[in-house]
Assembly symmetry: C2
Homo-oligomer: 153 residues x 2
DNA sequence: CGTCGGTAGTTGAACGTTCAACTAAATCGA
DNA sequence: TCGATTTAGTTGAACGTTCAACTACCGACG
């Protein structure tokens, strides 16, 4: 069966490219800043943040992968590096002999605490300061909708 | 001078994380689909698209780097791979002996033509079909604002 | 109890990006 | 016209991600 492609019209084209430029741009800027100021990419920063928020600063690898939106493999490699940096330690899970628990070390917490203010400032500078409160609200709803549909399909 | 960090309030926190999840999620999904269906990452697809739109399907490396939002180094590596795949050829620039001109080959154009319908469908599925026309409009304005501020600072 | 399918996590190779260093040519300024 | 600066582009190494293959363990069903 031949299906006609519904190409993007010029408006959609423009929106799509603006979205690409903006989202990539914001992420790249924050990534660069974090790499410069804290010596780690944003993905690693996020891992530390999520661990710092977990009870006892510990989390199962699977859950951590799930919540940071990364594959198990990616998380495994990442945690290996974070462990080498002394920021995370891996421990055996007491209830599941297959499992591992990632644990944010005190050094990791301190590194995170040192990096956080600069990063938050960056998020403000590149995102919140630039948009009106109404736009921030719109962005939130749009993002939630998009995110919901991703897990769905 | 000690500066108090203006942390993100819970609403901002939520918005930021939703934005992260959504933009990463959409890009990841399209990247996966393009890799599966066309054997190339989205960044490479974009290079081919931009070349296909250029006069004579030719563009200076610098301009191509600029327009695709990548570093010169990244583009250089990317075009090297695209050239190895037979989709792009590099030619000497006639007006600037330092310069190179990337040229989309017929094979590259055909590959692009084969990949485009599926990709556009993906963009619709993950983005446009999910949002109302008003939201699409909001997203466009927000993205344009964000993009404008990136080049600015 | 045994075994069979699913789950948790790791590994190494291939790939793509970044970073800094480098070559070569254009441009600017005296 | 000579030298200094800037611009164009490439290169290789280090890094981070992906993919597929792998080990080990859990849980369920006979």
């Amino acid at each position: 069966m031949v299906v006609m492609t519904r190409w993007l019209n010029p408006d959609e084209q423009h929106t799509w490219r603006a979205f690409l430029t903006a989202s990539r741009g914001v992420m790249d800027a924050l990534d660069r800043e974090l790499q410069r100021d804290a010596g780690m990419p944003h993905a690693y920063y996020e891992i530390l943040v999520r661990l710092s928020e977990a009870p006892e600063r510990r989390m199962r690898m699977s859950e951590l992968a799930e919540i940071t939106g990364s594959s198990r493999s990616r998380l495994s490699h990442a945690v290996a590096r974070l462990e080498a940096a002394g920021w995370v330690r891996r421990e055996d899970c007491p209830t599941d002999r297959r499992g591992q628990v990632a644990h944010l070390t005190e050094a990791g917490f301190q590194t995170l605490a040192a990096a956080a203010p600069g990063h938050v400032e960056g998020v403000r500078r590149h995102l919140f300061d630039v948009l009106s409160p109404a736009e921030v609200d719109q962005l939130r709803r749009i993002s939630e909708t998009l995110a919901a549909h991703l897990t769905g399909s």
